[in-house]
Symmetry: C2
Subunit: 593 residues, 2 copies
């Protein structure tokens, strides 16, 4: 198994680290070296893969960065754990391939035992924050976000932010999700019964983080779910989310009515022991809400939501997720798995946006949020979906109200249904807006949405589109430091520092390639114009020349309405004009001047 | 010269026409034929090229659709016109190639004489609207927009909408730009000194309109400007806009200080005689505003703005465009050329958004708008630029206030500077928002913005991104009928009518190709799932099955909180469950049922 292209050439930028209060607390950053001697420091999600000083091997997995921190807290214990079973990978007991699972694919890394809270203790960042403790994880994200550690602790303690970090996923570089922090982006990967392999999924994960994904959800639904997840977890520098219901359904051969709390519970434990950092739980799809979807244009479009609706109707009983929610909380609390309370009834079309079914479920998620918090479980809330622009704000406002400002985590929303193949864009518009208004994390949508599974290029396009939405929101929210990046790039643009423009770009490779398509020669990289307008029409060049020519003279005091209107000043203007002619009559002075 | 791919296969949709009050008033529409027997009618900008019943030949040009309407009004006359000169195409008088211009490229179509208002009359749609006349052009757009002709007349008369239609461009299919109508999209094309040919530009124009461009601006700056424009105009079914200043500057070899009102005026007449429908005029860049840009991060980024600023400073005189604005109005009024008052001082970076320079110019554009209206000239106002999301609304609000609700025509705005190569997306976000808030036309931005000249693929990506922004805004504004398109596509999606989804998509080709990448077989086009989730996990399928299974039973009356809470009802639930088992225990009933 190989991972392509995750290492980046050291030209123009390098991976740096900011050290915290202890030597094992080193926060990665991307340092862009500008040709004018300045450095710009950017948030970095790419993990050790972009550090030429670290040898990575996907067969061994990443180093367990947080292990000492977790052990040092002394509130967890290792234990034998749940034995792996063939059905974990979607294999029959009587599988002709024999054995427990597809052994070729088994993750070969260091042996490990799962860990959990000792004596049913809550070992969550929320519990620590509440009792006033600033964990190394909190200090880590404080450095990453350039805020005080106490701010991080306060936001987590208040339930306004989550720091997803399963005790069984020590490999991650901690990150935080909350409206006071940088807007985050999640990338979905996952194989299905129809397509994709383990290798592809691991590659997509590293590829997504390379371009800026802050978390990755493994939504596999086909074979080898357990094994794929193991590979992904052991190699992921970012928190991993899942929807345990998908795997549970595989265990009952896709028959929703055969799902039970026991099978689901067992799947949650299986995944928590592996290290899944957050889990989508569609516990708000209640039996009585299902009929509310009957007159919808597109019914229930969440997979989890539709599975639970089918179960509820088949049994004519309340959802087992809702009924057993408190028990589920105590399991999650003992691993520090964060809830992502799923919006199983989210609208799947413009026509269904903000309807009764959607908002009824959201209010139930509010109740569940309160219960989860009582159990010390970190919680975020998932949001829609397909929503026209004028109905977006109501979503975040209601969510913040009924969920006590728990982080909102939205899919888009898509602002129109009519552009399949461009839903990264239809949804990027809604994502930017809802993030501006307070959404903490955005789940990306790729160009393949509604049409097929994303490949590598789609993952990159989806991540970059969503990083744009997130950063646009950071700017609009006035996030401290967000505009420095824009300013650095705009300075480079105005001063024709092409290489700096490329290196500061969200996607340096494509920016450089597009430039080179029309002006490929190396001198063009230092040219004071581009192929768009050519030298004569370059407004930046003219503008710069004006500034050079007039220097300090160019201020409002010199030329104002009065001066122009007053007839007596006319000669002064003529004089200025003669001065100009005497200086060579050139507006476009050589740039060396 | 050939034009590729503008003809579209007739599978799934065809070009139709809606006839007005006279036989020569036939409004084109795109009729999508659904597999369920329904038809969906969409707005169509693609011109005769997509009508298999019309033979088109770019060497002859399009038929002069409006000629009889113009002649019948009896207020215009043909005249000899301004003789073509070598410098119109950027050639020296002493050009070694000799002759008037590059004869190989001369447009070979039917001979024509220019036309203008008789005795200095105002022959504008604004003038007609004001005196209560509903022209065939107004009726045409009323049918296109599905509104009453009187609404069109009123909006034009009030200056809240423009119908750009030079009397010398009879080939166009009339369209309207105003906040009460569908949001429009402009695509820029144009060669530069560095790259691109006439043939490419004509091809880009037809290609852009094929994907939905409502107007096209020819921003050529290199050689053959006059000839390129002739080819574009004679073959364009949509209004063509230009920036006459670019050509004027070519005539003085790129020396801004050598520009004169006479050269500019002559260029405007040259272009008006050819049939340019709207012209960007940067008459708001006043001498006293130039110093306001001195402390900007990116100075002046409008080409026209920087040229005028250089001229003003070189002469220390007020802009000749501002000084001669009334004369310019009378010229434009005699051809019905619409003003697009240019925002020469628009911000080119997030840092410069909404600054004093920008808003000072906007207020001047407001004054000029009033003057233009007095002369009967249709007028729209150009807007920025680079603006973070939280500063966008102020732009449209101020523009509407100081320009008496004249149509706003904005470039984006780009909501961040950090993603060159993705500026169609950074700006698509801002475009959707500002259009929702009242912008009437959006100037597209392609992925090549800031990097190079757009090629064919970039033009398509830019147009589709902006059609998405425009349609998202139409939805958010509650434009009558806008949601029908979304509803039709979402119905097709829910009912697994894949071919209908593709045919209704903004880009059927790409949607189909993406689907086929993972599920290429023909049966997959009728499959009740897609490759994203596979058959077991398809929420649409489960949701549809639920609806089928429960049919009319599925309403809120049947299952409500009371029912579930009341213990006595439990047996009723168990009964429902037994019924379900008796019916075969299948949630997923065959779809034939």
């Amino acid at each position: 198994m190989t991972v392509q292209d995750t290492h980046t050439s050291a030209i123009g930028w390098h991976k740096g680290y900011v050290e915290g209060s202890r030597p094992d607390l080193r926060v990665p950053v991307r340092r862009v070296h500008l040709t004018n001697g300045d450095d710009v420091t950017l948030y970095d999600t790419s993990g050790p893969y972009t550090d030429p000083g670290v040898e990575t091997d996907v067969r061994r997995g990443l180093a367990p960065l947080r292990e000492n921190w977790i052990v040092a807290r002394g509130d967890t214990e290792e234990y034998a754990g749940r034995p792996a079973r063939p059905e974990d990978d979607g294999l029959k007991h009587t599988s002709p391939r024999g054995g427990l699972r597809n052994l070729d694919a088994v993750f070969p890394g260091r042996p490990r035992q799962p860990r959990r809270g000792r004596d049913g203790r809550q070992v969550t960042q929320l519990a620590y924050a509440r009792r006033g403790e600033i964990t190394p994880e909190m200090e880590y994200v404080a450095i990453r976000e350039n805020v005080a550690p106490e701010t991080v602790r306060e936001e987590i303690a208040a339930g306004r932010a989550v720091l997803p970090a399963n005790v069984n996923h020590p490999e991650i570089e901690p990150m935080i999700i909350g409206k006071k922090f940088l807007v985050k982006v999640n990338a979905n990967i996952g194989n299905s019964a129809v397509t994709s392999s383990i290798e592809e999924e691991v590659d997509k994960m590293t590829w997504a983080t390379r371009w800026g994904a802050d978390t990755v959800m493994d939504l596999s639904t086909g074979r080898n779910i357990h094994t794929t997840r193991e590979w992904v977890l052991r190699n992921s520098p970012v928190p991993i989310g899942t929807v345990p219901l998908y795997q549970a359904l595989e265990k009952v051969d896709g028959k929703a009515e055969e799902l039970t709390w026991q099978i689901y519970r067992d799947t949650v434990v299986e995944q928590a022991e592996q290290g899944v950092d957050y889990m989508t739980v569609h516990a708000g799809v209640l039996l009585r809400y299902v009929p509310l979807t009957a007159r919808r244009k597109t019914g229930i479009v969440s997979r989890g939501g539709s599975i639970m609706a089918a179960w509820c109707l088949a049994h004519h009983k309340e959802s087992f997720l809702y009924e057993h929610f408190e028990e589920l909380c105590s399991i999650l609390a003992s691993y520090d798995v964060t809830y992502s309370l799923g919006d199983g009834l989210r609208p799947g079309s413009i026509a269904d946006a903000n309807d009764e079914a959607q908002f009824a479920e959201l209010r139930t998620l509010g109740e569940l949020n309160t219960i989860a918090k009582r159990h010390g479980v970190q919680t975020m809330i998932e949001g829609p979906g397909h929503v026209p622009m004028h109905k977006i704000k109501e979503n975040i406002d209601l969510q913040q109200e009924v969920c006590e400002e728990a982080p909102f985590y939205t899919l888009g929303p898509l602002t129109t249904d009519v552009a399949p193949a461009y839903d990264h864009i239809t949804s990027g518009i809604g994502a930017a807006m809802i993030a501006w208004w307070g959404t903490a994390m955005l789940c990306y949508v790729t160009p393949k949405e509604h049409l097929g599974l994303p490949d590598r290029d789609d993952v990159k396009t989806g991540v970059i589109t969503y990083k744009i939405a997130a950063h646009a929101a950071d700017l609009a929210k006035g996030h401290p430091g967000a505009q420095e990046w824009d300013d650095a790039l705009s300075d480079a643009r105005f001063e024709f520092r092409w290489e700096d423009q490329f290196n500061l770009a969200m996607d340096p490779d494509t920016a450089r390639a597009f430039h080179d398509e029309t002006l490929p020669a190396e001198p063009a990289k230092t040219a004071h114009f581009c192929s768009m307008c050519g030298p004569k029409f370059c407004s930046m060049k003219i503008s710069q020349d004006i500034r050079r020519r007039h220097g300090g003279d160019l201020d409002t005091a010199e030329i104002d309405t009065e001066e122009i209107d007053a007839a007596g000043i006319e000669e002064g203007m003529a004089e200025k004009s003669r001065e100009f002619a005497a200086a060579g009559n050139r507006v476009y002075l050589p740039l060396a001047e």
